[in-house]
Amino acid sequence: MRKLSYKTNKINNTNFLTLLIPFSLWIFLLIVLPHIELIKYSFSKKTGEFTLGNYLHFFKNTLYLNTYIRSAIFSLIVTCITFLLGFPLAFFVTKMATPKLRNIVMLLIILPFWISELIQVFAWVVMMRETGIISYFFQKIGLSSHNIELLYNDIAIGVGLVYTSILFMVIPIISTLSTLDDSLIEAAYDLGASFWNVLTEVAIPYAAPGIATGSIMVFMLTLGNFISVTLLGGKNSLWFTEQIYNQFILRFNWHQGSAFGILLLILSSLLVWGGLKITKQGMAEVLK
């Protein structure tokens, strides 16, 4: 008996190592060590000496600072808009539509969800550029006598960012709302609640974990966005990821670029952490 348990134990230990080693290789070689390297780069000069210069350069230069703050605020606004537009849809799908209609709407939502962001943004370029579809139809129905350029402004960026990220808000909310018992909503109505009461007192509190997941996803996608921002906003879209790209690829200044990368990471972590604190959610639950 003793011999047997020793044997199983040994099997379990080798087994444990064969599970732990691939995980460790992945997380250390692809996540932990690269970020340590990034931090080292951000605190050194091209010659390799230690410096705070890369960070000081950021704080002294109002363009960088403004771009940083602008990206953060813009991303928060986009997150709010996707919630305001997306929640009613999620509520419709889970609590109002008949099963047949629900399946149709779900299908129509899921298909665009999987289409590459690049194609989604391309579609909006086709719509909004000077010789694009919207401009064409405005002239066709006589609302304008010349081509209208709708691209290269903040509204174009906003439209694109909301479009490419809204389903990341809708789908987590749908999956939490679908477990909300309909009888709770009916009970609320029986007790005299209005639709608004049902939304704010029952559905939204219940969906909080889904909302937190969706908000984090949307915020991360927006803050880290590159395609929508540069293609719809043009050369001066003033987005922080663009500054990182410029430093790394155009100016080949990896040290400055690394400092920008770390600053972006700090910004996103702080806001995600703050969001989790406000909604009282844990990261492990939210990202499940």
Partner: protein, 289 residues
């Protein structure tokens, strides 16, 4: 809820909103798809007749997708990257799921949070951190093992694969862990009581139970890899993936050839997306049984 309570006017407004939302979601994509078949190089209306030339033409200067080598190469590169990432990330996902669901060890909570971390790191930051680290590692290999030992870590195929794996592995792990958590361990024990050893039980019983989730994880991994831009952009060498090639094209102006690629991508990703939905739908059925 079928018997929705409220004024019919309100209901009308709500249904209109949903309709408009779906229009907003689908119109740009539909128009983009339609214009792929319009015999008009302006990527706009008016409609000048139906054509397949944006797919198949070989005319120099206005090649279709299949007529242009650079485009086909980029599609090939994306497929090669996505296949490798799918295989590696799914295998790692299975192994990680067993690690976190079946084992208790010191520091598990911490490692689990570490596993989730890639999801809240912006893709651009993943790209530059892996670029800097692989640069360091590659020069180290060159010094220690001779001139070109580290060259596989230069920007190019393997670096793109590693870069994408960094966060796609987390996605695969989460999909598979969610299903493993629902597995009834007595089934495994029953198999072992009947004489199966540990490994056989896992392969015959547990992995079969996990199959839909493994398939789902593979589809998710493939799509995220094939569509990835932010991380990939920093790690490509001379051969671009499809999104990177399309991006560089879009900066200089658009042609209906891009519409044609879009149609192909919509079709393939739509199909895969549906497969993923069905495989998770199957999951529910099994659970109910």
């Amino acid at each position: 809820m079928k018997k929705f309570q409220g004024a019919s006017f309100f209901k009308g407004v709500y249904y209109t909103y949903v309709f408009l939302f779906l229009m907003y979601l689908l119109t740009p994509l539909l128009i983009t798809a339609i214009l792929a078949f319009n015999d008009n190089s302006a990527v706009s209306f008016p409609w000048k007749g139906f054509t397949f030339r944006w797919f198949f033409s070989n005319t120099p200067g206005s090649e279709g997708v299949f007529g242009e080598k650079r485009m086909m190469d980029a599609i090939g590169m994306s497929l090669k990257v996505a296949s490798m990432v799918t295989v590696l990330a799914t295998l790692l996902g299975i192994s990680n799921a067993f690690l976190f669901e079946r084992r208790d060890f010191f520091g598990k909570q911490f490692l689990y949070l570490l596993m989730l971390l890639p999801l809240i790191i912006p893709g651009v930051v993943l790209g530059i951190s892996i670029l800097s680290f692989s640069h360091r590692l590659s020069s180290f290999f060159n010094v220690v093992f001779g001139r070109k030992a580290g060259s596989f870590l230069n920007p190019g195929y393997w670096l793109v694969v590693f870069g994408q794996m960094s966060f796609i592995t987390t996605l695969a792990t989460l999909v598979i862990t969610a299903r493993l958590r629902r597995f009834d361990r007595t089934l495994e024990e029953a198999a072992m009581d009947l004489g199966a050893n540990n490994m056989t039980a896992v392969i015959l019983i547990t992995l079969r139970f996990l199959a839909p989730a493994i398939f789902n994880a593979a589809v998710v991994a493939f799509l995220f890899s094939f569509n990835n831009f932010n991380t990939t952009y920093f790690l490509i060498g001379t051969e671009p993936t499809l999104p990177v090639l399309l991006y560089s094209r879009l900066r200089f102006g658009i042609t209906p050839q891009i519409n044609a690629v879009s149609v192909m991508l919509m079709f393939v990703t739509g199909l895969l997306g549906l497969l993923s939905v069905f495989s998770s739908g199957e999951k529910k059925q099994i659970r109910q049984k």
